[in-house]
Amino acid sequence: MFKLMRKYPILNYYFTKFFAYFLTIFGALTITFFMFRLIPANPIENWLRSLEAQYSLTIDGGDAMVNSYKEKFGMTGTLWQQYVRYMYNVIFHFDLGPSFINFPRPVSELLAEALPWTMGLLAVSISISWVLGLLVGAVAAWFRDSPVSGTITNISIALSQVPAYLIALFLVLFIGYQWKLLPTRGAFDGQYAIGWNLDFIRSVARHSILPALAIVTVSLAAWILSTRSLVISNLGEDYLLYAEAKGLKSGDIMTKYALRNAMLPQATGLALTMGSMMSGQLLIEHMFVYPGLGQVMGRAIAIFDYNAMMGLIILSVVSVMTASLAVDLLLPVIDPRIRTAIKA
């Protein structure tokens, strides 16, 4: 194996990346696990109390009861045993344990139910902001001396670090309440049958606009900025002048030379945000009572649902890492310079 790797450095590169991928995920899970267990909370007691309050009954049975639930939730034995058991179940059975929310439904089911909503919202908002950001950024770069471009740039810089939930508050306030243009809660109207009918789909689309807009506003600013500076530094590049001196058509110069060179970092960036935006979106979903992972998170936090929270974090860590692994694996395919660097 090592001989082979020495012979083909690219194998070595892939191996290193995969190793780092698994190691980082494993480490992140371990850290998270111990952090949660070290937080001095008493979720089972809390949960039982909340059930009592909810159904106005008294749960008896005391310690025996608590212990039997502890077992179900994998909280018996030493911390070390709990850890080994948890990791074993996660890694070999993809079993994230039962949840307190809707006990005894397993966490994985809960997440699977919420995931499509989150992914849908994410896909829509990321594609909109990426495409729009590329366009506006390119235009801002092209007319970089005009005051309009300067204003766009400065606004984008200012907005680029503002968290999306503050934007969301503005949107809810004006579009949702003041002008009553769009719904601000949930993902669809209850009166329509869930399924592939037009009313339902329209309702889903209407409900997704505000949360998507909040996410788009902020990430758009970032894409505008990065595209603008990429395109400007590309416009000054000598190879564009050279391509023009060759008498190539402007369209060809733009697509084959300018964009090809500017797209590389932008595509990398796209993959990376795909992963990391998921965790940023959790709060937005919570605010809009959107039935995605964000809402699961809100409910899990409120009753201190270890398993659900761990599940969410695992999902997020794995998606971030997978996106960046994909980028690492694809880069040598797309960029010849990296390919050579690896060989050397």
């Binding site: 980082t24 937080i39 909370a41 200012a158 003041q178 500076s229 809100g298 201190f304 860590v317």
Partner: protein, 290 residues
Amino acid sequence: MWNLMKNCWRTSGKFRFGAVVLVVLVGLALVAPVIYRPIIGNRSPARPGQFQRWLPPSGTHPMGTDGHGRDLLTNYLAGLRTTLYIGFLAGVISTTVGVSVGFYSGYKGGGIDAVLLTITNMLIVIPSYPILVAIAMVTPELTVATMSLILALFAWPFSARMIRAQVMTMKERAYVELAKVSGQGDLAIIFTEMMPNLTPYLLMGFAFSVVGAMVAEVAIEAIGLGPSNIITLGLMINYANGWGVYSMGRFEILLIPVAVLVLIFAAITMINRGMEEYLNPRLQKVTTEK
């Protein structure tokens, strides 16, 4: 450092904008107690039931009172004060930790570096938000200091990574090598040779940590999962939402804290960008108007 600021001020309009806004806001926060006095005397702005509820803006209450019978202006100022203070404190803590780790890691290199870098990367991918909330929820009597500490817990890896990269490049340069040969100790080398060159990156790392900590803080507070005994701008937002200020037609109660936060984030980002442009003239050519 003073020179750096002066140069940035001279070369970058963004830096000037950000600096002016930030100085005004920090100034307001600093003189806040003076402004309280004529309105609420020596009482805490946070004490409920001081006045009649929902008074409209007037001479005595420039912004009116809220649903708990408190003066709104003094509460905004108190919120601004704590929010800035928490951000600053968390920034200091995480920058200190981040810089130390980044420095050590980058300077030593080798196995220690690999281990520290791996741990840093692990922490960076963990979504901090759920954990922060969980910790905040179970910590009784959350003070400003503990809040800052909790926020710093997840903010330091970013500075660490940035400083490490800078140290790695600087290490290559001859002047550090020279100092090594001349027999100075490691620490002496770090402080006499590298520190001056690292200052701008340190400041940028600090600014990022402050923004990161405040973003997380407001996020926790705004949806009501933070402690309710400390008035922050995030808590003001949460109150405003809870009171349903929309339906009462008192938009400004929500709008003001949101707008102030947006201003703070924008100002710090502008300052950072201005500094970056000053340090990297190529970027300046790309991003500033001729």
